[in-house]
């Protein structure tokens, strides 16, 4: 029986560097777009803006692919670029006076920011529920949850990106999860 091996991210990066015309980068986009977009939606609270920032992030990733040093995972690197892209955008918006700086869910509390058109009704309800529960978290707690759960990064990777001590990340995560547990209706009804 022949075993079909799925190339790792690192393999795809090497191929994309050597053969820019190959579909290696496309594979990388397909592999990480869902988490990236979800992560940016959790940061911005706006579907269109999140997708716009995700595209900008992937363009930056493509441009600096040769600078990737394989010291962290590709996903961590992409999420760090995404966070910087988001922060740049937020700073610019504050400078222009088009936003008051509270990006996450600000003014979008009644919309399902994590709404996914292709998903089931249950998931859409969960997204709306999650949105409302997220409003009760502090900005640091939201960021930690966005990194650890939406971007699916480890606590260590989150600490590295957020430039926070690991203990602080754990504390924020713990507090946030308690708040979410108390306020997520889906969990409480299951429970």
């Amino acid at each position: 029986m022949t075993e079909i091996l799925t190339p790792s991210d690192e393999d795809l990066i090497r191929i994309a560097r050597l053969q820019p015309q190959s579909c290696a980068f496309e594979q990388l986009i397909k592999r990480h777009q869902s988490r990236l977009r979800l992560y940016l939606r959790s940061l911005t609270g706006n579907i269109e803006l999140a997708d716009e920032l995700a595209q900008e992030t992937l363009m930056k990733v493509h441009r600096s692919l040769s600078q990737f040093k394989f010291e962290s995972s590709f996903k961590t690197w992409v999420m760090a670029i995404a966070r910087n892209t988001f922060l740049d955008h937020a700073r610019l918006a504050i400078y222009r006076g088009s936003d008051n700086g509270h990006f996450f869910l600000d003014g979008h509390s009644t919309e399902a920011s994590l709404e996914v058109s292709s998903n089931t009704e249950d998931q859409q309800i969960f997204a709306l529920d999650l949105n409302q529960a997220f409003e009760l978290l502090s900005s640091a707690e939201r960021e930690v949850i966005a990194h650890c759960y939406f971007a699916d990064l480890s606590m260590k990777e989150t600490a590295m990106i957020l430039k926070m001590p690991l203990g602080t990340v754990k504390t924020h995560s713990h507090r946030a999860l308690i708040k979410l547990r108390e306020n997520l209706h889906a969990w409480n009804s299951d429970d």
């Binding site: 979800l38 595209q55 292709s118 998931q123």
Partner: protein
Amino acid sequence: MTDRRQQENFELWFKKEISTIQIEDAKFTTNVLRKIQAKHQKSMVAPDTWTVWSWLFCSVCLGSLLFQMLIQIDTDALTGPVAECLILLLAMKATIWQYQKSLLYQQ
């Protein structure tokens, strides 16, 4: 069930719920690839602003040098750095042409 156990269960449930949310569409990937391609093509053809200004700077320098050479020429006897002036004139024409070309590409 202890509170700690319940919290652990919640964490597992939460992780599972998040992982079920899949945002994937081919259109997104196509859009990103198209933008990358467009940017790549633009960078292949259009010179950056630095290059455009460098050509202009070269033209101005050559022009100034040409002027200095021209005033050294004795117009009656046609002696002095005539050949140098002709070379500088050609060089200046070439740099102006390059400047105009790069400016056109940028637009």
